[in-house]
């Protein structure tokens, strides 16, 4: 169907969109790793499942005995749960960033990695959504927060940032899940046509009877176009609102106007880094070297680097105001971080957030999967530490020194945190075996734009009219 002249070097887009491979080959290359489950895969699933099971036990222990089984105390009322909640919400920002923003920007290199990113958003949000439940201790009381007409004549308090959180995260979760699913429909149909047995039955249902008519494609593109636009304000609002959980209080260090953009940028930074981490791992785990190429990592690495620079700017802007303002409590907190008990965390945060920016400036680092993995992992360590410092570090100090406190995590908290990391990995692993990890139709569609067609004696690059 399409062929490239041997003498012409492939363009960037052609390379990342596998211009030389046929559609059938691509179908096979995507479906093959899904259908192949090695013992290693099952060992991984078993291990993750065991961690999740242990975490569920820890959660049930917490529910049985009370929040006292965690290391919280007065005044450190929020700890690892909220920290990890913020972390997961942050991670969830990558998917939308890649799919919606880059889709609107028509960056074609995004195509093979969109599904991975969208799945990450959905699963990270699911993990994040667990924390408000866990955090309550008496999880069955959660429904008090849901607004519904009741015979107590009581509504929730929409003044509370937690209610905003509830609305924003719920909206984002629904939106991003639909977004993920919409883009999945043609591939489900493709998978349906290439599989049998239970997979066939599953894909038949999920494929919603997709036939690939012009009308269907048109509607899909319309829907995706609308979603891409609509989800961006949600995407910006979610982490802004999460930041307002902190910023609306008068707790020293939380009470800051820069928190919303700072949190959003931080979310993008950690989210993109997490995406890069995952892509490196999935690539080697599923042997997708052909789809996920150095070019992708190069582009992604650049994005991470830019997000990191933005984060650094916002961090510095916040820090400068705090430092210059010289408010006694804030000064005490800065003191704590720079030279006190929080110093190890603080320097870890700074090193782990700043060092990758420098590393990622090097093309070699961006394009070498191992090095990229190391730097993006570092980013996520750094961003987790940053949130630890914001949530726990700040709460340990307040206006009245008599009321200061210290916090030690317990096994219950650590197990539950581990549970969500393992749970995320487990969902992601299973997802990658059930759903084509690389969006085949997007690839094909992209390839259309750069495929060469013979018109008479000429080879003419054609751009698809759709899009």
């Amino acid at each position: 169907m399409s062929e490239a002249p041997a003498d012409r070097p492939l363009e960037f887009e052609e390379r990342v969109l596998l211009a030389k491979r046929t559609d059938a080959e691509i179908n096979q290359a995507v479906l093959q790793p899904m259908l192949r489950t090695s013992p290693r895969f099952w060992v991984l699933v078993g291990l993750l499942g065991a961690i999740v099971a242990w975490g569920l036990y820890a959660w049930s222990y917490l529910v049985t005995w009370g929040i006292g089984t965690t290391g919280k105390n007065r005044p450190v009322y929020w700890t690892l749960f909220i920290t990890t909640f913020v972390f997961w919400v942050g991670i969830s920002h990558a998917g939308t960033m890649i799919s919606a923003v880059l889709r609107l920007l028509k960056a074609d290199w995004r195509r093979p990695i969109t599904r991975g990113a969208e799945a990450m958003t959905a699963f990270a949000l699911m993990m994040a959504g667990l924390y408000p439940l866990i955090h309550l201790g008496r999880v069955w009381k959660f429904y008090w927060m849901i607004p519904y007409p009741n015979n107590r004549f009581m509504w929730p308090n929409f003044q509370s940032p937690l209610m905003w959180d509830l609305v924003a995260i719920f909206t984002y979760l629904i939106g991003s899940t639909l977004y993920l699913y919409l883009a999945l429909i043609p591939d489900m149909a493709m998978a349906r046509d290439h599989t049998d047995g239970w997979r066939y039955r599953l894909y038949r249902v999920l494929g919603l009877g997709w036939r690939g008519t012009q009308g269907e494609w048109h509607k899909l593109h319309r829907a995706l176009g609308i979603f891409s636009v609509v989800i961006i304000p949600v995407f910006l609002s979610v982490h802004s609102i999460v930041s307002w959980d902190f910023a609306v209080t008068i707790q020293p260090r939380w009470h800051s106007t820069i928190f919303a953009p700072y949190f959003v940028v931080g979310a993008i930074y950690s989210g993109l880094a997490a995406l890069a981490t995952i892509l490196v791992i999935v690539r080697s785990g599923m042997r997708l070297q052909e789809f996920l190429r150095a070019e992708h990592f190069n582009a992604l690495g650049r994005l991470v680097m830019i997000a990191g620079m933005a984060w650094t700017y916002f961090w510095f802007a916040g820090f400068l105001v705090e430092w210059y303002g010289n408010e006694p409590v804030t000064r005490e907190l800065i003191q704590q971080e720079v030279a006190g008990s929080l110093a190890p965390l603080f320097y870890l945060q700074m090193a782990a957030n700043l060092l990758p920016i420098a590393l990622l400036a090097l093309r070699r680092v961006r394009t070498t999967p191992g090095l990229l993995l190391a730097s993006t992992l570092l980013v996520n360590v750094g961003m987790y530490t940053e949130r630890l410092l914001i949530v726990i570090g700040s709460l340990q100090r307040n206006y009245l020194p008599f009321n200061w406190g210290t916090y030690r995590p317990t096994w219950v908290e650590l197990s539950i945190v581990a549970m969500t990391f393992a749970g995320f990995a487990l969902l992601y692993t299973l997802f990658s075996r059930i759903v084509p990890y690389v969006p085949v139709w997007e690839m094909k569609e992209g390839r259309l734009r750069y495929s060469l067609r013979r018109i008479g004696r000429l080879l003419v690059p054609t751009a698809a009219e759709i899009e």
Binding site: N73, R74, L162
Partner: protein, 246 residues
């Protein structure tokens, strides 16, 4: 309803004329802890034990903070009883997602225990850190449940609690006054801490009544409020301690 800074205006808007307030005369306070135990007895406050208390999980609704000044031998210790300040602009109130804490028409920061779902957001928002949380199910070995005050809920685990200005006493006194047709005089309603305070360092009454004892004391040149610059408008008014030099 918009909140207004002045207690009187606020109460006028809600149709009642009271703004409950407490005055703490630091010059009288000796730090003796009588109020602390009285509060435990009145309000069914659980005891958490050594380990939990050591980890900052004690449940006192009123604590006497002790501050050191100077160094030996010119060292001074000062006491400061700190309980819920019943702020006019309470930072704890807007953050509660379920209205478990809200502003009552008489200016109290009410805490409705059975509505609390335990987000502990109010605890973070409170700059005085006077809210305590039931980390575990409170234990009252038999027959200690007999001592519980039936006018106050026994809180379960997972619930934030705090000083209420002994609202059960206010409610009881008002009901009794209505039943007997008498009016309540200033000083007749006393929270447990005020009632027991041996050196009479605590006073309780209506700040909107210009002749009440608390109003008179609040006008003292010694009066100040805790963390006043935060703009929370506490209803607890402190009177500075002094020092006599001879």
């Amino acid at each position: 309803m918009a909140k207004v800074a002045k207690p009187s205006a606020e109460s006028a808007a809600t149709g009642t004329s009271r703004r409950w307030a407490m005055v703490v005369d630091l010059d009288r306070c000796t730090g003796c802890q009588a109020c602390v135990v009285a509060c435990h007895a009145e309000n069914n406050i659980p005891i958490v034990g050594e380990e939990q208390a050591g980890y900052g999980r004690w449940m006192h609704w009123i604590i006497i903070q002790r501050y050191w000044e100077g160094e030996y031998p010119n060292v001074k210790a000062r006491f400061m009883p700190v309980m819920c300040q019943q702020c006019t602009q309470a930072p704890c109130e807007p953050v509660c997602p379920v209205f478990a804490t809200y502003h009552s028409p008489e200016g109290l920061n009410a805490q409705i225990y059975n509505r609390c779902i335990g987000t502990r957001y109010c605890g973070n928002a409170c700059p005085y850190k006077v809210r305590t949380f039931n980390w575990f199910r409170p234990e009252f070995p038999e027959p200690l449940p007999e001592q519980l005050n039936p006018d106050v809920s026994v809180r379960s685990r997972g619930i934030i609690e705090k000083c209420t200005f002994c609202v059960q006493r206010i409610r009881r006194a008002e009901l009794d006054a209505a039943a007997t047709g008498l009016t309540l005089a200033d000083g007749e309603i006393q929270p447990a801490c005020v009632q027991t305070c041996p050196p009479s360092a605590l006073f309780f009454g209506d700040l909107n009544d210009p002749d009440s004892r608390v109003s008179q004391l609040a006008r003292s040149h010694r009066s100040f409020r805790l963390l006043e610059d935060l703009g929370t408008g506490p209803a607890v008014i402190y009177l500075k301690g002094g020092e006599t030099n001879v």
